[in-house]
C-alpha cells in the first residue's frame, strides 16, 4: 500500500509540483524571515560587541525618559565632568575617560546635501585618542576648535578630503558650521565603519557644546580596569562609589543591552514578515486543497479498485495523507533552502543599505527549521484531509462502472459558508468596535480569516451566475462559448481556484481602501485647517527627523508679506510618570491661527513659562482640567511642574500636549522639525518662497514648499507603505496564479478525450487555445472581482471603525480596482499559456482512443 502510494506519487510528480510550489513559496517566506532577522541580529551583536570591546566599565546617567526602539533613539542625560575624577579614584580603575557620544552630527557632502545613514546613528564625539580598534588612516587628531576627523566610510560618502572645509550640522546647531577636516580614521580589520555608523570627532569642548548643549559635561565615562581587576568587580566598586543615580555596566553588558533594544525592532519586523507568510500559506492551502480534490476525482477508478480488492477507507485516507506528507516534506525542504537564500540576500541588501553593516555568517536558526517543517507539513496535510475523506467515500463499484460523480447540491456548503461568514462578520464587528477585550488584533485577524473561508465556501453558489455573466463577453465565438461553459462546469473547482486569487486581491484592495481613505481624510483636513501658505520640512531618512536653524524663524518673520511664523518641536516626555508625546510651538498663537485649534476651556492664546496646554482627549483620559498641575520630565534637564492653562479640542492636527517654546531646549532634539509660514492677505507665495529658501541655505536638511506640496510629501509615506504591502502581497497573488495554471492543466488532462473529439470534428489548434484561455480569464476575473468586493467591504468596515480616529472619508480606489480586474485578465491569459499549448498538442487519434 505504502509502495503503491509512493509510486503513484512519483508518476504524478508534475501535477504535484505546482501545488508543492505554493508550499515552497509560503515556507520560503517563513524561513527567510527567520534567517534574515537571525543574521541581522547576530550582525548587530558583533557590531556592538566590537564597538564596546575596549570598554571595561561604562558609567552613564539613568535616562530621564525611557524610549523604546519604535519611538526613536534613546538620549541619555549628560554627566558632570567632575564625575570623571571621582571615578578615577575608585580602587582598581586604571583610567577613566569622559566621552561625548550623541546622535545628530550630520556632515554636509561636497554636493551640498546632508549625508544620511538610513538607520544607524550619526554620532558626534570628542576625540580621546587612537586605540587598538580605532586608527587614523590619514592626517592627525583634531586640536583646534574648528577641526574634525571623520570615519572613512563617511568621508567616502560625503566625497571630502583631508584639508577641506566641511560643513556639519550638530545636535544643538542645525545651522551649518564649517570645520576643517584634519583626519580620516578607520577600524581594525580594515573596516571603514562599524555597522554603518557615521562618526564625527571634535575636540572635547566643541563636542560638549555642540552635541550636549553645555560645557563640562559628558555622555558617559569609560573606565579601564587595572591589571588583575575583573570588569565585574570594578563595575560593582564604581557603582558603590557613585550611588544609585547612575547606570554602571561592563562593556559586555552595554553591548548586549544596545543589541537587545535593536532586536526588539527586528522581532517586530519578523512578525510582519510572518504575517505575510501566513497570507501566502492561506492561499497555498486553497491551492493544495484543489489539487488534491482534482487528483482524487481523477483517480476515482484507481481508488475504487483499491477498495474492491480490499483496501479499507482508512487505508485510502492514509494513502492520500501520505502523499500530502511527502509533498509537504519535499516542499518544506525546498522552501527552507529557498528561504535561506532569500534571507541571506535580503540581509546582504540590508547591510549595503545600512552603509556597510558587516554581516555575521548566515545562520539557520532552529526556529526557521521548525517553522518551515511545521508550517509546510501541517498546511499540506490539513489541506489534503478533505479530499482524502472524499476519496475514502468512493464506492468500490466505481471500479466497474463509469459512476458519473453526481452534481452534489450546494446546499450544505452554502449553509456552512453563510455560518462561517457570519462568524467572521461578528468577530470583525467585535474587533473593530473595540469590544474584543484586549484581543483586538487577534479578533480582527480571526474575523478576516473566517470571512475569507466563508466567502470561499459561498463562492460555488455565486460562481454560477457571475461566471456565466462574465463568460457572456466571450460568447460571440464558439471557442469562447465552450470556454465559458467549461468554467461553469465544476463550480466547486472554479470557486476554490478563484477564491485563492480572491484572498490576495481582497487584502490589497482592503489595504488600499484604508490607506487611501486615511490619506484623503488627512489631506482634506490639513487643507481645510492648516492656514499656512509655506511649510519648512525635510524628508526623514533615518531615526532622526530633519531639523533646521531656529534663527530662520525670526528672519522669516521679518520678511515682507509674512504675517506669522511658527516652528514646531517635539519629544517623548514623561508626564506624571507616563510617557507622552509633547510638543512646543515657537509662536503659541499659531495654534489657533494656523492649526485652527478651538479652546474648550481656559486660554490657548497665551502660554507662560510654567504653563501647559492639553488636547481635550488627553485632558479627559488623564483627568486634567484648567488649573491642574502636572510634573513633566523631558529628555534633558530636571523635572518641572506645569499648570494647565488651557484645553483645545482634539483633532488630527493637534498634539496631545503643548509646552511653552522655552521647554524645547530640553527636548532630545532641541531644534524645530517643521516651520509654518502664514502670509499676509494679498501676498504672492512665489514672492516669499525664494526668500525663505535663501534663509535655509545653511540648513540643507530641509526645504520650503507650498502647503499642498507639503501635505503631499507628508502623506507620501503612506504611498511607500502601500507599495511595500502590495509587493509582499504580490506573492499571494503569484501563488493564486499557480493555482489557476494547476486547475487548468488538470482539467485539460481530464478532458483529453473531449478535446480530441473537438479537434476531430474540426476545432483548430488556435481555437482550442482560445477556449482554454477564455476559461482561465473567466476564472481569474471572477476571483479578482470577488477580491475587490470583499476587500472593499473589509476596508470600508475598518474605515468606519476608524471614524473617531479622524479617517472620516471613505475613498474607494476605483482606478486601482480597475487595474486589479485588468491585471486579473492578464493573469488569466498568462496562466492559460501552458495548459492551452498542452491542449492544442493533443494527438487527435490518441485522445479518442484514450481510455
Amino acid at each position: 500500500m505504502f509502495r503503491a502510494t509512493l509510486k503513484s506519487l512519483l508518476a504524478r510528480k508534475v501535477r504535484l509540483i505546482l501545488s508543492g510550489l505554493a508550499v515552497v513559496l509560503g515556507v520560503m517566506f517563513v524561513s527567510g524571515a527567520f534567517v534574515l532577522t537571525d543574521t541581522l541580529g547576530r550582525s548587530f551583536d558583533s557590531v556592538f560587541a566590537d564597538g564596546f570591546s575596549e570598554i571595561d566599565v561604562n558609567v552613564a546617567a539613568k535616562p530621564k525618559v525611557q524610549v523604546n526602539e519604535m519611538e526613536g533613539e534613546q538620549t541619555v542625560a549628560p554627566l558632570p565632568a567632575a564625575l570623571v575624577d571621582r571615578v578615577k579614584q575608585v580602587p582598581g580603575a586604571a583610567s577613566a575617560t569622559g566621552v561625548v557620544n550623541a546622535d545628530g552630527a550630520r556632515v554636509i557632502g561636497s554636493n551640498g546635501k546632508v549625508v544620511t545613514s538610513f538607520g544607524p546613528p550619526q554620532l558626534g564625539e570628542n576625540w580621546t585618542g587612537e586605540s587598538e580598534l580605532l586608527q587614523l588612516r590619514e592626517g592627525r587628531a583634531p586640536q583646534a576648535e574648528d577641526e574634525i576627523v571623520i570615519n572613512k566610510a563617511l568621508a567616502t560618502a560625503a566625497k571630502v578630503q583631508v584639508g577641506q572645509k566641511v560643513g556639519v550640522l550638530t545636535a544643538f546647531e542645525s545651522k551649518k558650521r564649517d570645520f576643517t577636516l584634519v583626519g580620516v580614521f578607520g577600524y581594525s580589520g580594515d573596516r571603514d565603519s562599524i555597522g554603518g555608523v557615521n562618526e564625527v570627532f571634535f575636540t572635547t569642548p566643541v563636542a560638549q557644546r555642540l552635541m550636549l548643549g553645555e560645557p563640562d559635561v559628558f555622555s558617559s565615562i569609560t573606565v579601564q580596569a587595572a591589571d588583575g581587576v575583573s570588569d565585574e568587580k570594578l563595575r560593582d566598586d564604581v557603582a558603590r562609589t557613585l550611588g544609585a543615580d547612575f547606570e554602571v555596566k561592563t562593556g559586555e553588558q552595554v553591548a548586549a543591552d544596545a543589541s537587545a533594544s535593536l532586536k526588539e525592532g527586528l522581532s517586530f519586523f519578523n512578525k510582519i514578515l510572518l504575517g505575510f507568510a501566513a497570507v501566502a500559506l492561506l492561499v497555498g492551502t486553497f491551492l493544495i486543497l484543489n489539487t488534491f480534490s482534482i487528483i482524487v476525482a481523477q483517480r476515482t477508478r484507481e481508488l475504487a479498485l483499491m477498495r474492491a480488492i480490499g483496501a479499507s477507507g482508512r487505508q485510502i485516507i492514509g494513502s492520500v495523507v501520505l502523499e500530502a506528507i511527502a509533498v509537504g516534506l519535499i516542499a518544506s525542504v525546498l522552501g527552507l533552502a529557498a528561504g535561506i537564500g532569500v534571507g541571506a540576500l535580503l540581509a546582504f541588501l540590508f547591510g549595503k543599505l545600512a552603509g556597510g553593516l558587516t554581516l555575521a555568517g548566515i545562520g539557520v536558526p532552529a526556529a526557521a527549521v521548525i517553522g518551515s517543517f511545521g508550517v509546510g507539513l501541517v498546511i499540506t496535510v490539513v489541506a489534503a484531509l478533505l479530499p482524502a475523506l472524499r476519496a475514502s467515500r468512493i464506492p468500490p463499484i466505481a471500479a466497474m462502472q463509469d459512476v458519473a460523480t453526481p452534481d452534489r447540491p450546494l446546499t450544505k456548503v452554502t449553509v456552512a459558508g453563510s455560518l462561517v461568514t457570519g462568524v467572521g462578520a461578528v468577530l470583525l464587528f467585535l474587533g473593530l468596535s473595540g469590544n474584543a477585550g484586549g484581543q483586538t488584533l487577534a479578533t480582527i485577524l480571526g474575523g478576516v480569516l473566517f470571512a475569507f473561508i466563508g466567502v470561499a465556501l459561498l463562492t460555488p453558489l455565486i460562481s454560477r451566475p457571475v461566471v456565466s455573466l462574465l463568460g457572456a463577453i466571450f460568447s460571440w465565438s464558439v471557442p469562447g462559448k465552450l470556454g465559458r461553459l467549461n468554467s461553469g462546469r465544476n463550480p466547486r473547482r472554479t470557486a476554490i481556484t478563484a477564491a485563492a486569487l480572491m484572498v490576495g486581491i481582497a487584502l490589497v484592495t482592503g489595504v488600499t481602501v484604508i490607506l487611501d481613505s486615511a490619506k484623503g481624510s488627512i489631506s482634506a483636513l490639513a487643507k481645510d485647517t492648516i492656514k499656512a501658505e509655506l511649510v519648512i520640512a525635510g524628508q526623514q531618512g533615518g531615526p532622526r527627523p530633519p531639523t533646521f536653524d531656529p534663527g530662520v524663524l525670526d528672519r522669516a518673520k521679518a520678511l515682507p508679506g509674512v504675517r506669522m511664523v511658527d516652528g514646531e518641536y517635539g519629544d517623548m516626555g514623561r508626564i506624571d510618570g507616563e510617557s507622552t508625546w509633547v510638543a512646543a510651538s515657537s509662536d503659541i498663537a499659531s495654534l489657533r491661527q494656523i492649526f485652527g485649534a478651538k479652546p474648550t476651556a481656559g486660554d490657548i492664546d497665551r502660554l507662560g513659562p510654567t504653563q501647559m496646554l492639553a488636547s481635550s482627549d488627553t485632558a479627559t483620559s488623564r483627568g486634567w482640567s484648567v488649573g491642574s498641575t502636572v510634573n513633566v520630565q523631558l529628555t534633558r534637564g530636571e523635572a518641572r511642574t506645569y499648570t494647565i492653562s488651557g484645553i483645545y479640542e482634539s483633532s488630527q492636527l493637534t498634539n496631545p500636549v503643548t509646552l511653552p517654546a522655552t521647554a524645547a531646549k530640553d527636548f532630545a532634539i532641541p531644534q524645530p522639525i517643521q516651520g509654518f509660514i502664514q502670509l499676509a492677505p494679498g501676498t504672492r507665495v512665489s514672492d516669499v518662497q525664494p526668500q525663505v529658501e535663501a534663509l535655509l541655505a545653511d540648513s540643507p536638511e530641509v526645504s520650503v514648499a507650498d502647503r499642498d506640496a507639503f501635505i503631499k510629501q507628508q502623506t507620501s509615506s503612506l504611498d511607500g507603505l502601500l507599495t511595500m504591502i502590495q509587493i509582499l502581497l504580490a506573492l499571494a497573488i503569484v501563488i493564486a496564479v499557480l493555482g489557476i495554471i494547476n486547475t487548468l492543466a488538470l482539467s485539460v488532462l481530464e478532458r483529453t478525450r473531449e478535446l480530441g473529439l473537438l479537434r476531430a470534428i474540426g476545432l483548430r489548434r488556435s481555437q482550442t487555445m482560445g477556449m482554454i484561455t477564455v476559461e482561465a480569464v473567466v476564472i481569474s476575473v471572477f476571483g479578482a472581482l470577488l477580491g475587490v468586493v470583499v476587500g472593499t467591504g473589509l476596508g470600508a468596515a475598518v474605515v468606519e471603525a476608524l471614524k473617531d480616529e479622524g479617517i472620516t472619508d471613505l475613498i474607494l480606489p476605483w482606478g486601482q480596482m480597475g487595474v486589479f480586474l485588468g491585471l486579473a485578465a492578464v493573469i488569466g491569459v498568462v496562466a492559460a499559456v501552458l495548459p492551452a499549448v498542452r491542449a492544442a498538442r493533443i494527438n487527435v487519434l490518441g485522445a479518442i482512443a484514450h481510455d
Binding site: A4, K7, R301, L305, R307, A308, I309, Q315
Partner: protein, 255 residues
C-alpha cells in the same frame, strides 16, 4: 431455481429472494425481482442475459458492491447483507476477488506489484508455492517487471486474473473479462479461468453476454428482466446461443 437444493453447505455464494430497485415513483426501475440462486464451490458459473437484464446488478449485489433492496446475499458462511464498511472491507480482503472488463491495473506498478497488491493492502505475505503456481498458470513469469502499458490486453487481463487468484478468495467475480479482448486473447483468459477451477478448485462467477465465453463455464444462468429464466449445465456455444435467441422473443421462453 431448485436445481441446487441439498448443496447448501457447498455453496460459495448465495442469493435469497433478492430485489433491487433503483429510484422511486415514475423513475423507478426494478433491476432484480426476487432472484434466488446458489453458486457451488469449485464450479465456474456464467450469468448471461441481454443488456438490461440485471446480470451485472446481480453480480454487484452478490459481491457486496451494491446493497440489496430486499432479500439476503451470502458468501460462504458470511451473510453479506447488512455488513458495514469494515465488514465489507474484510469480506473483500478474505473472500472475494474481482476481474474487470477494463483490467483495472495500476499503471504505476509492475505486473508483479499489481498481482501482490491485494495481499500488501491486507498486510499479508504471499504463500510462495501458491504464488509460483499462479504465475506459472498465467504464464507471465518473464513479464513480471513490466508495467501494464508494456503488456498486451490479454497479458494485462492475465495479470488481473493472477491478482484475483493470489489471495485464494472464496469466489472470484469476473465482469465481462473478455469484453475488451480479441478472440484469441479471450480464449486464453477463459481457458485459464476454467483451468483454475478444474485444477485448483477455485469458484468463479462470470458475467458475460458472449455465448462463446459462457460455453467455457460449467453452468450458465440466464436472466431476463431481473428474473432468472433459464439454466444450462455443461453448456456449449450453440446451446447458449439457442437459449439466448429464445430469450429475445419472450413468448417462446418456457421453463
Amino acid at each position: 431455481m431448485t436445481a441446487t437444493v441439498g448443496q447448501q453447505a457447498q455453496a460459495a455464494a448465495r442469493a435469497n429472494d433478492v430485489w433491487k430497485v433503483y429510484g422511486s415513483g415514475e423513475a423507478q426501475v426494478v433491476a432484480l425481482r426476487g432472484v434466488s440462486a446458489e453458486f457451488e464451490r469449485g464450479r465456474f458459473t456464467a450469468i448471461m442475459g441481454p443488456s438490461g437484464s440485471g446480470k451485472s446488478t446481480l453480480m454487484h449485489c452478490l459481491a457486496g458492491l451494491d446493497s440489496v433492496t430486499r432479500g439476503t446475499v451470502a458468501i460462504g458462511e458470511t451473510t453479506v447483507t447488512g455488513l458495514g464498511d469494515a465488514g465489507l472491507t474484510k469480506l473483500r480482503r478474505d473472500k472475494v476477488g474481482f476481474i474487470f472488463q477494463q483490467f483495472n491495473l495500476l499503471p504505476t506498478l509492475t505486473a508483479k506489484e499489481n498481482i501482490l497488491l491485494p495481499l500488501s493492502i491486507a498486510g499479508r505475505k504471499p504463500d510462495p508455492a501458491w504464488y509460483d503456481t499462479v504465475i506459472d498458470t498465467v504464464g507471465l513469469r518473464d513479464r513480471l517487471d513490466h508495467r501494464p502499458a508494456q503488456l498486451s490486453g490479454g497479458q494485462q487481463q492475465r495479470v488481473a486474473c493472477a491478482r484475483a487468484l493470489v489471495s485464494r478468495p472464496e469466489v472470484i467475480f469476473a465482469d465481462e473479462p473478455t469484453g475488451n479482448l480479441d478472440s484469441r486473447s479471450g480464449a486464453e483468459v477463459l481457458n485459464f479461468l476454467r483451468n483454475s477451477v478444474r485444477e485448483h478448485g477455485q469458484t468463479i462467477v462470470m458475467v458475460t453476454h458472449d455465448p462463446t465465453a459462457a460455453a467455457y463455464a460449467d453452468r450458465v444462468v440466464f436472466l431476463a428482466d431481473g428474473e432468472i429464466v433459464s439454466e444450462l449445465i455443461e453448456p456449449t456455444a450453440e446451446t447458449v446461443l439457442d437459449t439466448m435467441k429464445k430469450l429475445d422473443t419472450p413468448a417462446e421462453v418456457g421453463n
